[in-house]
Symmetry: C2
Subunit: 210 residues, 2 copies
Amino acid sequence: MAYRETEKMRQRKAQARQRIIDCTFECVAEGGFRSARITRIAGLAGVATGTIYRHFESREDLFAEVFRLATQREVNKVAEALTTTGNATIRLEAALRQFAERALRGPMMAWSLIAEPVDPKVEEERLAYRKAYADLFEQAILEGIDEGCIPDQNARQSSTCLVGAIAESLVGPLSPTQSGQASRNLKDNNDLLVGTIIRFCMQGLTGTRR
Amino acid sequence: MAYRETEKMRQRKAQARQRIIDCTFECVAEGGFRSARITRIAGLAGVATGTIYRHFESREDLFAEVFRLATQREVNKVAEALTTTGNATIRLEAALRQFAERALRGPMMAWSLIAEPVDPKVEEERLAYRKAYADLFEQAILEGIDEGCIPDQNARQSSTCLVGAIAESLVGPLSPTQSGQASRNLKDNNDLLVGTIIRFCMQGLTGTRR
């Protein structure tokens, strides 16, 4: 009996934790980390603010966890795109497109993950995740060099160039302060932007005009 | 007499402020923002810690000011390199080289300016300064399009690709956790790194194999 009780409590605890994470995610997707206040998250999750601090040591720890989960999802999507059929340049282009298009479809969340000034704990996660993207790109570049569709180069260094180019070129367009754009032209603008980023990156890798 | 007194006090105040800034700069160049403790800075500057808070509202404000001054110096160096004689591709290459080589010569300060996880106030400055670099590159790209040495493209977007590529590709090599590198090979490694970054960036811009 005692064991079952504990199991049930554990489940409840896990569910509350998940609800807090989901609601934080919702707040960040809506207005960034800055606007995700603990009282608001607690209200959405239907728990007392004190409950949040029983699950997470601090607001920063909660944010770091949400950052990790949200970014891991994006990393997985990029990894998935890299399994596209075709040679390494086709796979890399699909991965870059995936990254950029997903970001532009969820601009506030993407802004928060890529560039929003946040607590150092989140910044630490950001550095780690940039490495995760670079690892994926590096692998694909090495495959491309093997396949002969990408000239020989330091794949590690080129992979970080890719990560930097795509992330930085999205910062401005994703920035909430630029959201006054005419939404009618938004899709066209986004397509042009994605095209420009991909061209720069693929030219950078291959030295072949596109 | 009263006026002179005030003038003298003003001068003293300005000198103390400058000394605090200089000592903070020294601390950051040595161990990053994280290791720049107020007590240490006060000790170096020969003032009481309370004096620091008479000049700066908070540690974060002091850091933001030092960040601004240090980054503006780097921006000026890049701007200077862009006045090199030659067409826009030569000028841009000189600017990228200037950025990368200066960073590698002062790796801890560069790490702190480019990537060290710091307070949101410093992160805000970082975003602003990335724009400053992009503005410089954009101007040079536009000139290159005019001169005919760079193919027509969205210069704004390409400029942000350049900023991202060069900054991100330096993050790993500048990171204090990677400083165990054999120093004998350091110069060769750095030259190779700078070469790779410049090749990626210039190929990205021009689509011409280098």
